[in-house]
């Protein structure tokens, strides 16, 4: 006699947490933070309820694009060590379920953001979801080593959306925040690709390390970090900057440049000796780098009403 628990479909039945994992909660955290900073750095104030709802809907939109990405990339996720435990390759969620969840939540989040904030913010969110799910995941990721460079724009749109939620329009400051994330993404992921040695090779994803080699990747990291440092410090002189931001930016960028220079000086033999220590340190610093830059912008905006933030 067959017991009901012997059927794989029943034993592997997805829990709520598995659907939540499809939405890439760690990416959602970053999105929530950068949307909040974009919204509060804007010169116009937002009603707290409207602001809360708008951020929630942007986070749901980001989660939806994450689910669509996991649906499309399930085959390569299964090959890569870093992603093999994601809900679809782990057999917890069916690919069709991820697709349905992604499409449904995309529609819901865009519609609700339009109602809660404004149509321009909703259009920008729709474009961001399209950019991440279609342009990055479907077109670029497996086709070009520039996947990370161009695809990084998807992660850079949230502060612009936050700004539009507050003001209903674009501005130079919003695009400075966009460029900060856009320029930060390539060195961040290339450092990861350097020490996650075989992952991208196994999955045949054309990362720069695979197509142009590791010495070229090291040169690219240094070049992008120099450009990023100029931009990050330059942002300090704009309307969203101030003494606090400028101090944070100068200190962080000195350390970031030193890290990139160290990576550029090394070769694979040196890196293997200490198990990619410099690359790992640079990657860890890059996480703090973005958080602290946006934290400083937030602090400037929060202190401004008391005459302390900004110039």
């Amino acid at each position: 006699m067959t017991d009901i628990t012997n059927t794989p479909a029943v034993t592997n039945e997805a829990q709520l947490g598995d659907y939540f994992a499809l939405m890439k909660p760690r990416v959602m955290q970053l999105v929530v933070f950068t949307v909040l900073v974009g919204m509060l750095a804007a010169p116009t104030s937002v009603h707290p309820v409207v602001g809360f709802a708008a951020i929630l809907f942007v986070a749901i939109g980001a989660g939806a694009s994450g689910a669509l990405n996991m649906w499309w990339d399930a085959d390569i996720d299964a090959v890569m060590r870093r992603t093999s435990k994601r809900p679809i390759p782990a057999g917890k969620v069916e690919p069709g379920e991820a697709l349905a969840l992604g499409v449904a939540l995309s529609g819901l989040s865009v519609m609700m953001l339009g109602l809660a904030a404004n149509l321009l913010a909703a259009a920008m969110l729709a474009f961001t979801i399209f950019f991440y799910a279609v342009i990055y995941s479907m077109w670029l990721k497996r086709a070009t080593p520039q996947n990370i460079v161009i695809g990084g724009a998807a992660g850079a749109f949230p502060p612009v959306i936050g700004w539009i939620i507050a003001t209903g329009s674009f501005s130079v400051e919003a695009w400075l925040m966009f460029t900060l994330i856009f320029m930060w993404t390539p060195p961040h992921f290339w450092a990861l690709a350097l020490f996650m040695r075989s992952d991208y090779d196994d999955a045949e994803v054309p990362m720069l390390t695979v197509t142009h080699g590791r010495p070229s990747t090291r040169r690219h990291i240094l070049a992008y970090t120099v450009l990023l440092a100029i931009l990050a410090v330059g942002t300090g002189f704009s309307a969203i900057g101030g003494y606090i931001y400028l101090s944070v930016a100068v200190i962080l960028n000195v350390f970031f440049l030193m890290g990139a220079y160290r990576i550029w000086q090394r070769d694979e033999v040196m890196a293997e000796v200490d198990n990619y220590l410099a690359e790992r340190k640079f990657f860890r610093l890059s996480l703090y780098y973005l958080f602290l830059h946006f934290g400083a912008i937030l602090l400037e905006a929060t202190l401004r009403p008391w005459g302390l933030g900004g110039w």
Partner: protein, 61 residues
Amino acid sequence: MGIRAEHEIHGRRKGRNIGVGLMLGGFVLLVMVLTFVKITDTDFTRAPGTANPAPSAEATD
């Protein structure tokens, strides 16, 4: 061997259903509060697309 009325799978599904129910309830509540804020914040005496009227003389006195 008969099927028991309450299987372990039912317990797990119950947890998932309660979670979905709470999220839907939260969504309804959020839309309600958002609607209230939008209605109370909107000046319905003004024609759409026009600027806020300047404060009247009485109001500034």
